[in-house]
Amino acid sequence: MTETSAATAGTSAELLLDAVSKSYGDNLAVRSISAEVPASKISVIVGPSGCGKSTLLRIISGLDNPTSGQVRFEGDPVDGVPEGLAMVFQDYSRSLYPWMRVDKNVEFPIKHLPAKERAERVRFAIEEVGLTHKEKLYPWQMSGGMQQRVAIARALASHPKLLLMDEPYASVDAQTRADLEDLLMRIQAELGITVLVVTHDIDESVYLADRIIVLSSPPSVVAEVIDVDLPRPRDHIATKTDQRFVEIRSHVTRLLRSKEPAATA
């Protein structure tokens, strides 16, 4: 039931989920998830609310342990937070530190570096997300979209190999969301980072993804893996009116509509 096209053949799997399951007491949140996240691409996990997407990201980032199965990052089993990983949360106002100005927030993950390199990375990251001249504001003085840009800049400053994002744009307005989606794709193309986004928004998943991992309703398994061959750079009008885009979106919608959890092997 997993279709992986030739598009990703030859690229290495940066991240490997091997039969990952998670129960909270009697509640089986994630039944068994196996998937490959290719290096230097954007992968998107899409699934209904409560299907265990956040749980899965916590396990991938080593913040939580799976009940069974394992996660491998660059070949090594994840046991604790691996190096080279950064996470962007939906709730930017809770994830940013309100006692630090923008530049200090961005500097947070790299305090151990020499001052000169620190300053250079902060400057670059803030420029990447288009917040130059806003460094001395406090996050709570900014709009939601700008705060999420700060969170992205902070992740970039840490030079991640793997960027995890948990519904990063679920709390911002539609226009800001569209801008931030394009920002993410531009940065990913520029820096070649491996990105794994979690969302419940089907449009967003198809628009962003090189690979979509569709989860069933809980207890969740992978319903299907879809490689998206839409050309890049993508554009909100051209891409979203592309026949292939419409087809893939319909397909994912049908998968998520079917209420029955997919059968396990």
């Binding site: 916590r58 980032s61 913040l63 937070v81 190096e83 990983l85 950064a86 996470m87 949360f89 709730d91 106002s93 809770r94 994830s95 530190y97 309100p98 006692w99 947070f108 993950p109 406090y138 996050p139 709570w140 840490s158 995890l164």
Partner: protein, 263 residues
């Protein structure tokens, strides 16, 4: 009575406050002068103000005020350092909490002033036993507020720090303690007022004639000096009001960012 929904402007608040204070003093003065209340030793507001006027040029009195302030600040600093440290650890680690919960509950109910004489026996007279007495009463609101502040740290803020490779102790230092500091400072504000009260009370008991308390004690031995005693008490009270104002301002300036803490 009509409820006030709109907060009053700072100026009308100040005017109302002064009118109320002066009015209360005037009524008090009237009650005593008219002979309605006839108890020897009760102060006349006009006499107390005259007493303050006598105190102002008195260098030895101001030395005592400075002594009390120094004693109080030292106590408050000791209490803040100890309270934030122990409260932070108790908030962050359940093992520390379990180990210290009962000792804290036991020491918290001890009347700190009563411990004063024991401290004098142990370390002798001077400012230190007085400051330690102050610290012993100040530490609890700071410790408890820090502990609850640390516990209330947002889980997303903590997870963020962990994904950047920070262990438990680093998370405590970089995230939990900073985000608990506004709570800790509320504890310090409460402690500051308590501390001043305890400082003067402790001086009455073990001050050896030092501080505002010592001054009050020496002059109250002489019944003709009662106005001076009341005046000194009034100065101590005004000092408390001033401390409160400074603390409130400090809260605004240093912890203005707390409006950014997620609710």
């Amino acid at each position: 009575m009509k409820l006030l929904h709109e907060p009053l402007s700072g100026r009308s608040q100040a005017v109302l406050g002064i009118v109320g204070t002066v009015g209360a003093a005037a009524v008090w003065e009237g009650v005593i002068r008219s002979g309605l209340l006839d108890v020897p030793g009760l102060p006349l507001p006009s006499g107390v103000i005259a007493g303050v006027a006598d105190l102002v040029p008195d260098g030895t009195f101001w030395d005592q005020v400075l002594f009390t302030l120094g004693e109080w600040m030292l106590g408050l600093v000791i209490a803040t350092v100890a309270g934030v440290l122990v409260g932070g650890l108790m908030g962050a680690f359940s093992s520390v909490f379990l180990a210290l919960e009962w000792p804290v509950e036991a020491f918290r109910v001890l009347p700190s002033v009563a411990v004063g004489p024991i401290l004098v026996l142990l370390i002798g007279q001077g400012m230190l036993p007085l400051s330690l007495t102050v610290a012993l009463s100040c530490v609890w609101p700071i410790l408890l507020n820090t502990m609850y502040g640390v516990r209330a740290t947002d889980t997303t803020a903590v997870m963020t720090a962990k994904t950047f490779g920070n262990g438990e102790l680093a998370v405590l230092r970089k995230v939990k303690i900073p985000s608990a500091l506004p709570f800790a400072f509320t504890g310090v504000r409460i402690a500051a007022s308590i501390g001043l009260l305890v400082a003067v009370s402790a001086e009455l008991l073990i001050g050896g004639g030092n501080g505002i308390g010592g001054y009050i004690l020496e002059n109250s031995a002489n019944a003709t000096n009662l106005d001076l005693v009341y005046a000194a008490t009034l100065v101590a009270g005004l000092l408390g009001v001033l401390v409160n104002l400074v603390m409130a301002k400090l809260d605004d300036v240093v912890f203005g960012w707390k409006k950014g803490l997620a609710q």
